[in-house]
Symmetry: none
Subunit: 81 residues, 2 copies
Amino acid sequence: MPYRTKKKPPAKAVAPDGTFAMGETTDRLLTPGEVAHIFGVDPKTVNRWSLTGKIPSIRTPSGQRRYRQSDINQLISTDRG
Amino acid sequence: MPYRTKKKPPAKAVAPDGTFAMGETTDRLLTPGEVAHIFGVDPKTVNRWSLTGKIPSIRTPSGQRRYRQSDINQLISTDRG
DNA sequence: GGTTAATTGGGTAATTTGGGGC
DNA sequence: GTTGTCCAAATTACCCAATTAA
């Protein structure tokens, strides 16, 4: 999967009729490559972060890792040090 | 994770945050696209999982696959490693 | 009926994984 | 202690057109 940055349409999670747009909502899962692109590191480094408990990860039934966008956003904080 | 749709899914089964309503839609069958969204993969990958025996699937009379929520829930687990 | 979106199957390219060593 | 790279095997993504579902 290439490091594709797909633009998200205006996030409209739940419509008035109770329906919602699939796949474009708040908590989509990111691939290691996407997270790596965000932080500017190697995908393997991202996996190391999950190994050391720095990022929670979800496994596909075949063992690949996926990361919650909310978890990633939590790590992105402006640093003044 | 190229699965995206601008229209409403068949019904509200899995909320954008990944949760679901227990008392209401527990036994509803999920489409490949919905399961794909949960795991952050392509719908075809989900079908591949059923072909390799990782997920039991149910077929519509026309041959399309559907998945039980209970089967999917069993596979979801946060991973530390 | 008619429109739109999702699913399916096949083929091929790209990504991910784990280990090892720098 | 952390990160980047090389490797082979496994897994997944994207392409297409036809079928099915809503």
